[in-house]
Amino acid sequence: MIQSFGWQSVQFLFHGLVWTVGLSLCTFVGGGIFGLLFAIARSLGPNWLRALVAGYIQLVQATPLLIVVFLSYYGLSFLGFYFPPLAAAAISLTIYATAFLADIWRGCIEAIPRTQWEAADALALSPFQRLRYVILPQAFQISLGPTVGFMVQIVKNTSVTALIGFVELTRAGQLLNNMTFQPFHVFLTVAAMYFVVCYPLSWWSEKLKERKHAGTAH
């Protein structure tokens, strides 16, 4: 069935965009929760745990995201755990985002000067209180820019899940192109939609980084 690119096509792509954004949000929330735990474990845990988390981060960062996606979709179903494309996509993106966010946030935690830890210790704060009231709030401020910047990567990288048939924006574009044979219309619209989501995030990320340099933190 050949149809031509029109309003309905835009609606179809928009539907894909909604899935892209939804998957991005899931990834950010999942990656955020595990990333924070991993970042804390990586910078404060006992040695064996630090090594374990460091290994995880290095392994995931050295693996193409597409391979992680294939592993969770084809690999796990081969072992008898079948996940539908949406679940496999969310799992693999969370694995990926956890590694990167943990690494970003570990850097932010370790950027807080030794002297701040000591001041908290000298005031008899427990290790948890020290983290909760002194270290993490400061680390949070410096992490905002890079974190928002990484959200752009998440949004763009959701596109690899098209390869396991999850119909997000990129896959929607592919399908539409098969129906219309108008690749420029289709993929320029797809690109524009990515841009509309990603550009404000990039802009915001830069703003947050500038604010950090200006040194007004409160």
Binding site: Q116, D121, A122, L123, S126, Y133, V134
Partner: protein, 243 residues
């Protein structure tokens, strides 16, 4: 019972001994100045007292809380010991009032509505009553250091430790901080202060300890130490200040 007792404190970094068996007792209300050359172990000793540095041998005892290399009792001891650092180390993301009330709230369970009275009380003791809502980066170095003293006071410590708290300050700001410390001394606070301000040590400290090569080389009443030093090392050390 002394407010602070250090017995046979030994500490080394790797196999380099830095403290070689320190013994020191500080009575209630004593102000002890610690002087000595760079590298003699003054800061290390002070940091061992509140457990910022682990040590290999000996004990530290503050009002009945005993600390040894096992580091049990660490937090109990820290609740009784205030520490003021050379670089102030205020929490930059918190206002002056929040800096002051954080530890009393979370460590000692101070009710929220008693916070502002505490802030007023300790800030007035350092002469900064009007700065409760400022952030650290809006204050001068001298003011930040006085807020750091106030933050420490807010925990109602039995002993306060000061590590060269004026060395990061411009000379014209040193005076205001020294004055604050002198007032605490008059009010009867027990203090151990590492300092390079010999005149101040002599005037304010009841006792002075001269550290040399990781040991307490000579100690006594400040007046004695500065007017009749016994060891050649101490004579050499304070010679320029006697002229």
């Amino acid at each position: 019972m002394p407010a602070l007792r250090i017995e046979n404190l030994k500490k080394s970094y790797g196999n380099v001994p830095v403290l070689k068996g320190i013994n020191l007792a500080v009575e209630n209300g004593d102000v002890v100045a610690v002087i000595g050359r760079s590298g003699s172990g003054k800061s290390t000793m002070l940091r061992c007292i509140n457990g910022l540095e682990p040590f290999q041998e000996g004990t530290i005892e503050v009002v009945g809380h005993k600390l040894d290399q096992s580091r049990a009792n660490l937090r109990e001891l820290r609740k009784e010991v205030g520490m003021v650092f050379q670089s102030y180390n205020l929490f930059p993301h918190l206002s002056v009032a929040e800096n002051i009330t954080l530890a009393p709230r979370v460590v000692k369970g101070l009710p929220r509505d008693e916070g502002s009275a505490l802030v007023r009380e300790v800030l007035s003791r350092v002469g900064l009553a009007e700065k409760a809502d400022a952030y650290p980066d809006e204050l001068s170095g001298g003011q930040q250091q006085r807020v750091a003293i106030a933050r420490s006071l807010a925990m109602k410590p039995k002993v306060m430790l000061f590590d060269e708290v004026t060395s990061a300050l411009d000379p014209e700001l040193t005076g205001e901080v020294l004055k604050t410390i002198a007032q605490l001394a008059e009010a009867g606070m027990t203090m151990v202060l590492v300092t390079h301000e010999m005149g101040f040590a002599r005037r304010v400290a009841t006792r002075t300890v001269f550290m040399h090569q990781g040991t307490v080389w000579e100690e006594g009443k400040s007046e004695e130490i500065f007017t009749h030093p016994k060891t050649p090392e101490l004579k050499n050390f304070i010679a320029p200040d006697l002229k």
